[in-house]
Assembly symmetry: C2
């Protein structure tokens, strides 16, 4: 009896101890380890990892969004898988393979609908955020039997999603007010939109064009006015440069009433006034920009680069309108993520197998986390933001 | 033995059951119940309360800020008390009385320093966010033996805090880079600054003036340029109106490159272009504005009013530049809080003893929560924002 009692005691205590510690979810991070199909979970206050999860499949070009409470991350894999991660229990809750070839996703304003954008078959699919049950799909069939790759998907207020069709040269807006019956509007964009962004207020969608110099712009508050083109022929009359990696567009790049956009193939960041949408400047940088990301307060814009300059990072001072700092933080800098109030930035150094953590004020390195060929870094504070 | 075993079994199970459920902290709310010294905790996803905590003292004009992980709320009471609330365990962790008479507080960019602003004795005090240990204080002694009330305290990047001195007519910036040795700069403001705001990017501090028509402006990126006055004499040549309640200024009121500010005593919202800081419009409303708050996407600005119009709420459409909706949601509408992506707004109806929850898209009421004379509503998403 005494032995049984002891055994039971240990069992009960273990059951209690097995409960993950209580913690807030406002300061969590998910790091994609692209080569091995793992994610590492970390804390942005302690700057330490706390869990590692495998079995996520092909994570090249993977991205993640968060549930509105910050507890769950939804990871979109290159192989069409959608994995739901419990950030508190440090485990995968569910995984579905929703397409053959996917390129990211988004979550609705009310947090109830997770949408994946797919290359093959081209289109978007909407899932219940709780169960991952398929709710609806919008095939990107722009002409009978013709399907386009979908890029640049972003959420917009009113449970809408906006995205571009690479092959069709169009921007589509799908309204999921009724999650099982989305209603889609179509707008012309231009030749081969390769990525898109929604401004941080959710009002404007911009699609970068690969087939021509320029950016397509749609005012989502006044869609009846249609899309228009800005930054037309920004490389006019100049020799075309080889493009080593397509740049990324995301809503982080708006600061102080200006948008900072990567010029395709050129060693420049284009500066656009968001009131007029006219180009107001160009800032020379040390390579072909990939990510151009504003610190949340807009004082700095950080830029990383395509091969062969992917060991460099340039930091633009937006007040001076020029590069103020040139860093060489590590090998293969693929991604950057700012803490929500901007005091730190995390950089993934793929070929150093590390996440590098910097104080943005004095540009000193204040920490690092080991990770296997890390690429994307996604903080839980994204749950609170429009356009991701 | 068998009885003992059963008793122990129950005890162990209770111990396990006593652990609060795992939950994310991204969608939590704290509601001030001013009359009875309570706070009610609620969830913005389920729109239901889940805990109620008493013993917080005098909560008239109380406000709250959040730890960077969203787990803890710091409540600043009118009686100078600072209470630390565990949002997961639903209990008060610690309470200190730090002054005789206080009026809100703020938390540093790195989340390590909680600062209270005090009327009596006038000044600010900085506390360790973990332990509430006093780290430093800055008495608002603007002339030998002369202390001012402090108002409008807001955080700014670089662990700085900005605030106005009502009696001194000054703006002070205290740098807590070394938390125990703050360094303070002083700037002239004008007659009787009554409240302040930092723009959402943390760059500009505005102090509304009560002793004269106008607003003092300080560019925190270029403090060497000093403060200047904007909106001077906005009520010029017109009869002074009695002021029933001082309006509040907070960083929510910036939308689409414009700041929407309450005119003191006047039935108007002033519109200012934040690029030039010139007045670009006035919007007539149905009373003396108290809070003028932009929905996070900036498409709407909601306005509540002082007595006798405090049962009304006007909703401005910022694209049209005019009031688009007039609501009469309840009695004694004291405060409004938007969900971080703007799909809902919570209103406190003090004299109805309810929190009213609206869908901002179609202005329908979608829920309510009973509370005892509720005033301030504070969502955990504030943890991620600059200038609160």
């Amino acid at each position: 009896m005494r032995i049984l009692f002891s055994v039971l005691l240990v069992a009960f205590l273990s059951a209690c101890a097995g409960t993950p510690p209580l913690r807030g979810t406002g300061d969590l991070a998910l790091i994609i380890e692209r080569a091995s199909g793992h994610v590492t979970l970390a804390n942005t206050s302690t700057r330490q990892p706390y869990a590692r999860i495998g079995g996520l499949g092909d994570l090249s070009h993977a991205s993640a969004v968060y549930s509105r409470d910050g507890r769950y991350a939804y990871v979109f894999g290159r192989d069409g898988a959608l994995s739901k991660i419990d950030m508190l229990e440090g485990r995968m809750v569910k995984r579905i393979v929703q397409s053959g070839n996917a390129i990211g996703g988004s979550i609705s304003q009310d947090g109830r609908i997770v949408v994946a954008q797919n290359y093959k078959p081209g289109g978007i699919k909407a899932f219940d955020a709780e169960t991952l049950e398929l709710l609806a799909e919008v095939p990107a069939e722009y002409a009978p039997g013709q399907f386009s790759k979908v890029v640049g998907l972003a959420d917009s207020p009113g449970n809408k999603f906006v995205y571009a069709l690479f092959d069709a040269g169009e921007i589509w807006v799908s309204d999921f007010s009724d999650p099982r019956r989305p209603v889609t509007q179509r707008f012309p964009a231009g030749q081969n939109p390769y990525d898109g962004l929604v401004t941080p207020d959710g009002r404007h969608f911009l699609a970068g064009l690969f087939g021509e110099d320029g950016v397509a712009l749609l005012d989502l508050w006044q869609p009846e006015k249609g899309s228009r083109k800005i930054l037309e022929k920004y490389g006019r009359g100049e020799e075309k440069l080889p493009v080593y990696k397509m740049p990324h567009l995301r809503g982080w790049s708006v600061a102080q009433g200006k948008a900072y956009l990567p010029a395709i193939g050129r060693h420049e960041v284009l500066v656009v006034d968001v009131a007029t949408w006219k180009e107001v400047g160009r800032i020379p940088v040390r390579g072909q920009p990939v990510f151009v990301m504003a610190r949340p307060d807009g004082r700095q814009v950080w830029v990383n680069f395509a091969f062969p300059d992917y060991g460099k990072v340039d930091v633009i001072d937006t007040l001076k309108g020029q590069v103020a700092h040139q860093l060489e933080p590590g090998k293969g800098i693929l991604h950057m993520e700012f803490t929500p109030r901007g005091e730190n930035v995390w950089l993934s150094a793929r070929d150093d197998h590390k996440i590098l953590i910097y104080n943005t004020e004095n540009l000193t390195r204040i920490g690092e986390i080991t990770a296997d060929a890390p690429s994307g870094i996604f903080f839980s504070s994204r749950a609170q933001r429009i356009g991701f």
